[in-house]
């Protein structure tokens, strides 16, 4: 199929960017979206032009590295997939596809379609950990009885790959789905109780410091999340934060 691509090109973080038009022929439905961009880049390189920079790593939907706002939606029009898992069969011959970086003040553009998502790392570092004795007396995690329902919910929260689609989709560029998933995966388990009070307070404080917006419960993040992280995590974080703050 033949596609008309409108791609955000930006030389570096301080340079002004703009949309550049490309026409790409010979795209197959079985290709992934990133393979389509690979072909475009091969053409650009063969013509002596600068290739389009974009983030990618595992290309199997588990690392959270790929991003891209495709036709106004993070990871494109398909549901529960990352950009690397998005097939070109989702598009039609002659389609125009607008490809932009994830937009948030806390996710500044580094080059072209690559944004700096280290704000997520700093939120995680602020409290996304548990205290485990690793001095040789480590207790097997399986020796602690955990309610099946809580274990399942914690696992669901832990499937967040930190790609940033929630921020990109949210009209307020809020990071509450990400932060709440990272709070929830520990809040639901006995191992997470030791730092429970400080964890939610520190992670929310860091989230605010990074300049993310406020949640207005539109639910866009949940719809666009490639891992189906639920809004119930945000409600849990709201509860955890309220109770942690009232405890002092």
């Amino acid at each position: 199929m033949k596609l008309y691509l409108k791609i955000w090109r930006q030389k570096d973080a301080s340079a002004p960017g703009k949309i550049v038009d490309y026409t790409l022929d010979g795209v197959e439905g079985d290709m992934s979206f990133l393979e389509m961009l690979d072909i475009l880049n091969e053409e650009l390189v063969s013509k002596g032009e600068e290739p389009v920079e974009f983030d990618h790593d595992c290309r199997e939907g588990i690392c959270g590295t790929c991003s891209l706002q495709i036709n106004g939606e993070p990871h494109g029009p398909d549901r529960l997939v990352t950009t690397c898992q998005l097939h070109m069969r989702k598009f039609n011959d002659g389609d125009t596809i607008v490809i932009e970086p994830f937009r948030a003040t806390a996710f500044p553009v580094i080059k072209d379609l690559i944004v700096d998502r280290s704000a997520f790392d700093r939120i995680q570092q602020a409290g996304g950990y548990i205290s485990v004795n690793t001095s040789g007396n480590t207790i097997d995690a399986n020796s602690i009885p955990i309610n099946k329902h809580a274990a399942d919910e914690a696992m669901d929260a832990a499937t967040c790959i930190g790609c940033g689609a929630c921020v990109a989709a949210c009209k307020n560029a809020s990071a509450m789905l990400f932060t709440s998933a990272k709070v929830s995966q520990f809040a639901l388990l006995p191992q997470g109780q030791v730092e429970a009070t400080e964890r939610v307070q520190n992670m929310v404080r860091q989230m605010d410091l990074e300049g993310f917006g406020n949640c207005t419960n539109t639910g866009a993040c949940e719809v666009e999340c490639p891992k189906g992280i639920s809004l119930t995590n945000i409600a849990r974080m709201n509860r955890e934060y309220l109770s942690a703050t009232l405890k002092g």
Partner: protein
């Protein structure tokens, strides 16, 4: 202190002030419905609300404070949220993942705020002038005909009805959303959410009915 400054605290303030205003709507629509079904009771209730010192000097200032807190916090949130995306998308397909009402609360809120200005001019300022500026004597029978006469002009009736449509849209997202903001999202909140959606339709519909009823049934002297 952290509770005041944090993004989550702002959510709690919006939710709690919104829930407070919802409870006021229940009282307001109940008394207003009496103007259709029992003018005498409407006069009695309005007179009580207008002259009871607890209502006038305690509940009324709390209500006005609730309205101010809700819309000021709404503006603060909107400004912060716009700052959180300093470069906008060339193409943003918002309707693909969130309903229109949830994405446009600021606009439905602004219409309601403009309506409140008209509503205050129509009833509250008139009432303050009647009681405290002109110092008229108490008249427990005046409320019904004053209200009906207000809805004689077509333009005012239409402005009220349009505002109630926007109120419905605002409540449709806001009321149910307040449970989520306060941390309630479980099997019990499914029922609350359904109740909130029904409330968001029924209460504004009742207000619109009252306005249209009085417009279509003027008092003939």
């Amino acid at each position: 202190m952290s509770l005041i400054k944090s993004s989550l605290a702002r959510k709690y303030v919006m939710a709690l002030s919104g829930l407070f205003l919802v409870t006021f709507l229940i009282l307001h629509v109940t008394i207003n419905l009496a103007s259709v079904f029992s003018p005498d009771f409407f006069n009695e209730a309005s007179h009580f609300m207008g002259y009871n010192p607890i209502v006038q000097f305690l509940m009324q200032p709390i209500l006005i404070a609730g309205v101010i807190v809700h819309f000021v916090m709404g503006f603060v949130l909107e400004i912060q949220n716009r700052k959180a995306r300093n470069v906008g998308y060339v193409k943003y397909n918002g309707s693909a993942n969130a309903p229109w009402v949830s994405r446009n609360m600021i606009y439905s809120g602004l219409v309601i705020l403009a309506f409140l200005a008209l509503h205050f001019y129509d009833f509250w300022i008139h009432e303050m002038a009647y009681k405290y500026v002109e110092a008229n004597p108490e008249d427990p029978t005046r409320y019904y005909h004053e209200t009906v006469e207000k809805f004689a002009p077509f333009w005012r009736t239409i402005l009220y009805v349009v505002s109630f449509v926007l109120l419905s849209l605002h409540l449709w997202h806001g009321f149910a959303s307040s449970f989520q903001s306060m941390g309630a999202n479980n099997k019990y909140t499914v029922g609350f959410t359904k109740f909130a959606k029904i409330f968001a339709v029924v209460v504004p519909l009742a207000f619109a009915f009252i306005a249209l009823y009085h417009h279509l049934n003027p008092i003939t002297h």
